[in-house]
């Protein structure tokens, strides 16, 4: 599997709704278009919320994995 280079990591572990999304929205503005960022979260609701956020904002959810209780999302800025 090709490794996607991430320009920024958001650590939203331990944070509840809506902070993972709020932090993602703030961080995505700091990276250039086409670059990717990584979001780490423990909120199980984030699996649905990140997908909904990507759909609404047009950013691409490139990767979604789970390691124990930590969800990892890789999002590419449109």
């Amino acid at each position: 599997m090709p490794v996607i280079e991430v320009a920024h990591t958001i650590d939203a572990r331990g944070l509840s709704c809506p902070m993972p999304i709020v932090k993602t929205a703030q961080a995505v503005k700091t990276i250039p278009a086409g670059a990717a960022l990584e979001l780490l979260a423990t909120d199980p609701g984030s699996t649905k919320d990140v997908a909904a956020w990507c759909r609404a904002t047009g950013n691409e959810l490139v990767e979604q994995t789970v390691d124990g209780a930590v969800y990892r999302f890789v999002i590419r800025r449109k």
Partner: protein, 197 residues
């Protein structure tokens, strides 16, 4: 028995064909509108009427999420909702004794909200705060800061400001210009999804 198929009779088409100088009809399809997979979204208008902790919390969660999702989000703050957006440091507000007494009975500011149920002299909000911290839930104050950073517009109600004797310097920084009911109805009927909380 034989049937004959008649040529389709279309006088309008014939008349149009007889006119010179009309642009040639081409079969080339119009370019399809670019589909970037994005849904056209309406604006979001939250009317913050209540000053109760749990309702303020819910409205700020929705407002910050709306803005995070690229939805233009406005919050019209009125009646008890306006008290929430008075600076935390203000203790007594207003000009006459009734206005002052109102603020004395219910301290204004986002950090001094009471629960509508189970307030128990502040025990309820204190426990809510403890639980929120334990479960990583952002406080109303943190959500308000995030909402403002994401560009949520907070519009104070001019009528309520007058009634409570609130001055612009009593309010938190970054509020929009005060407005009235017509602004709200205008937004509601134009392109905003309204929420009354």
């Amino acid at each position: 028995m034989t049937t004959t198929t008649l040529a389709p009779f279309d006088p309008l088409a014939e008349a149009i064909a007889a006119v010179d100088g009309l642009p040639e009809v081409t079969d080339t399809a119009l370019p399809a509108p670019a589909d970037d997979g994005q849904v056209k979204t309406k604006d979001l208008l939250i009317i913050d009427y209540s000053g109760d902790l749990e309702k303020v919390w819910a409205s700020l969660i929705l407002a910050s999420t709306g803005a995070a999702m690229g939805v233009r989000t406005r919050v019209f703050v009125t009646f008890w909702g306006l008290q929430v957006f008075v600076k935390d440091s203000k203790r007594i507000t207003g000009e006459n004794w009734m206005q002052k007494m109102m603020s004395a009975m219910q301290r204004p500011g986002i950090s001094h909200r009471k629960l509508s149920k189970m307030n128990f002299l502040g025990m309820g909000p204190w426990m809510m705060g403890r639980l929120a911290k334990q479960y990583g839930v952002a406080s109303p104050k943190e959500l308000l800061e995030a909402a403002q950073a994401l560009g949520v517009e907070f519009i104070p109600c001019q009528m309520t400001m007058d009634m409570f004797g609130l001055k612009p310097e009593d309010m938190i920084d970054g509020m929009s210009e005060p407005a009235g009911a017509a602004t709200v109805i205008g937004l509601m009927t134009e392109n905003s999804t309204p929420l009354f909380i």
